[in-house]
């Protein structure tokens, strides 16, 4: 029973990590505001279901759509900024979401949060979601989308010289990431059954980024592995749970210095024998 819980939580967080993989791992966009999308997804689904009585699948769909639309609206002005500024602006936006959720207490329950959601989300849905998201991510990575992401990350200017519309591409990446992240938030709401505005702050967003780096920027499997280890570790070793973050930090610093491809850099989803020629 306990192990089930651990698996559920670990998998939920892994969805969030996968959510930023395309954006941060492949394209090099750092956002400290992903927590905002988690919250938005969670609250959208919860409000749609609880306050408007719409069926659960629709609530999930709403969360995804709102996530994507918000990603578009946020991305349009901010993705023209340089990397550091984008990082900070997204932090600001995350904070704005938090403040907004607190302020709109009539709708969201304010600081008290929202509770009472039925447990609609169990392990099958979570794991199934991971499979689907991984498939989509992998498909994108293998084709033009992924190549262009990596090119943009490596050298934006050269990428545009090769005919890539860098701005448009970044917007697409951001929208997809936001949609996945919001979806993860919605799942969270109906699994953990309690949400509040401080659910996912900038530190948690930072952790997602860090785990992505540890797992390996070019390896989806690596990122999943790193996420699984980190989040389950915390559940199993609750008593030193707090030291987990310190340990993570030390590991990350070392990994970046000595093994910048990531701890699991060689890991790939399909064993090399199964891979087609030319990837």
């Amino acid at each position: 029973m306990f192990y089930l819980k651990v698996l559920e939580i670990t998998s939920l967080y892994t969805i969030l990590v996968l959510g930023i993989y395309l954006m941060t791992g492949l394209t090099g966009l750092f956002s400290l505001g992903q927590g905002g999308f988690v919250s938005i997804g969670a609250y959208t689904a919860a409000i749609v279901y609880m306050r408007f009585g719409l069926p659960f699948p629709l609530a999930l769909a709403f969360a995804i759509v709102v996530g994507a639309v918000l990603g578009f609206l946020v991305g349009i002005p901010t993705l023209r900024l340089r990397r550091d500024y984008f990082l900070l602006v997204t932090f600001g936006l995350g904070e704005m979401v938090r403040a907004g959720l607190l302020y709109l207490a009539q709708l969201t329950g304010g600081a008290l949060g929202m509770a009472g959601m039925p447990k609609k989300v169990g392990l099958p849905l979570i794991l199934g979601s991971i499979v689907v998201i991984t498939f989509i991510t992998y498909s994108l990575k293998r084709s033009r989308f992924g190549r262009d992401c990596i090119a943009i990350r490596d050298d934006e200017m050269a990428a545009s010289m090769m005919g890539i519309n860098v701005y448009a591409h970044k917007i697409k990446v951001f929208m997809i990431s936001s949609a996945i992240t919001a979806y993860g938030g919605a799942l969270y709401a109906f699994n953990i059954l309690f949400i509040e505005p401080n659910l996912f702050n900038w530190l948690e967003s930072a952790k997602l980024i860090i785990i992505t780096f540890v797992g390996g920027l070019n390896s989806i499997a690596g990122v999943i592995a790193a996420s699984a280890i980190y989040y389950s570790f915390g559940e199993f070793f609750r008593f030193i749970d707090v030291w987990r973050d310190v340990l993570l930090a030390v590991v990350v610093v070392l990994v970046i210095i000595f093994r910048p491809g990531g701890l699991f850099q060689g890991l790939s989803l399909l064993p090399s024998k199964l891979k087609r020629k030319g990837r």
Binding site: G28, F30, P77, T78, R80, L81, R82, R83, D84, Y85, L87, L88, V89, F91, G92, L93, E95, M96, R98, A99, G100, L102, Y103, R153, E156, M157, L203, A206, K207, I209, I210, F213, V242, W243, D245, V246, L248, A249, V250, V252, V253, I256, I257, P260
Partner: protein, 294 residues
């Protein structure tokens, strides 16, 4: 509108703004030299806030001594961080994103470390100043706030002098504009970078001390760095004067807004304005746009 209250808010805000300015400059210094956003500065602020507390509580209850020691500790911490965490990355020629990620990690490390070890307690600096307020006409100004403002002004003035007139200051500026050429002229670039980090760390130490003195010391005090970073961006990354002006403005604006519309909405207005500003003028108030060389 009650002008007295308004003025009061502004004065309070400007004093806090002085600290924001300190943070902005400390952050901007590294941005100039190594061209990346050094989030570990927040970690230095947190660390020194604690150090300052322990020094003044358990060692010597003298303001000046503990202040100087804390500032020095900040400088050394920053140098150590540079040596251990940033230099290896620089040496191996990794992309800047790695530096950013590692700097965030260090900030997280410091915060979580203190959350784990000392987080449960709230620490307050001993009171150095009798009579906490000063009365100027109709205004009541907290002495602590005045002190913050005064120290910030002095420190920033000194820094400006060092950067403009001393040899090391010129060296720092040289490395800022081009990281490889100065070494061809016999400048030890690594040393200059260490010095820049030392200065930045001293600023961080002063910030940590002042913040710890004004508010209580907790592991999240370093998160204030984000305000400093915001000030740095508004002012134009890399411009000391811009950072100062922006810091003061931010402090005053924040203070006014909280009084007028409350602490809940204030972040929204501030962040919203900053986003608008960046969209219209991405280089901030005093910064320059750099074009990428092909």
């Amino acid at each position: 509108m009650n002008w007295n209250i308004l003025l009061q808010q502004i004065v309070n805000g400007i004093s806090l703004g002085g600290v924001y300015a300190l943070m902005a400059v400390g952050f901007g210094l590294i941005f100039n030299v190594l061209k990346f956003s050094n989030f570990s500065h927040g970690g230095v602020v947190t660390l020194t806030a604690y150090i300052g507390f322990f020094l003044s509580k358990y060692l010597i209850a003298n303001f000046i001594v503990t202040f100087v020691l804390t500032a020095a500790a900040g400088g050394m911490a920053a140098v150590v961080i540079e040596r251990l965490v940033f230099r290896p990355i620089r040496r191996k020629g990794y992309p800047i994103s790695m530096l950013i990620v590692n700097s965030i990690t260090v900030a997280m490390l410091v915060q979580q470390f203190f959350a784990v070890t000392l987080g449960a307690n709230y620490y307050s600096y001993p009171n150095f100043i009798k009579e906490t307020a000063l009365h100027l006409g109709n205004l009541t100004v907290s002495k602590i706030y005045l002190l913050m403002l005064g120290i910030s002004a002095v420190v920033l003035g000194a820094l400006t002098y060092v950067i403009r007139k001393t040899k090391i200051g010129i060296a720092i500026r040289a490395v800022s504009s081009d990281i490889s050429t100065p070494s061809l002229m016999g400048v030890n670039v690594d040393f200059v970078i260490s010095v820049a980090f030392f200065f930045s760390g001293v600023l961080g130490g002063i910030t940590g001390y002042l913040l710890g003195m004004t508010f209580t010391v907790d592991p999240f005090i370093g998160s204030m760095i984000l305000k400093g970073i915001i000030a740095s961006i508004i002012g134009g990354m890399g411009s000391i004067l811009g950072g100062v002006i922006a810091g003061l403005l931010l402090g005053a604006a924040e203070s006014l807004l909280i009084a007028e519309i409350g602490a809940a909405l204030t972040p929204m207005v501030i962040y919203g304005s900053i986003i608008l500003l960046l969209l219209v003028r991405p280089q901030g108030i005093a910064g320059k746009i750099t074009e990428v060389k092909a």
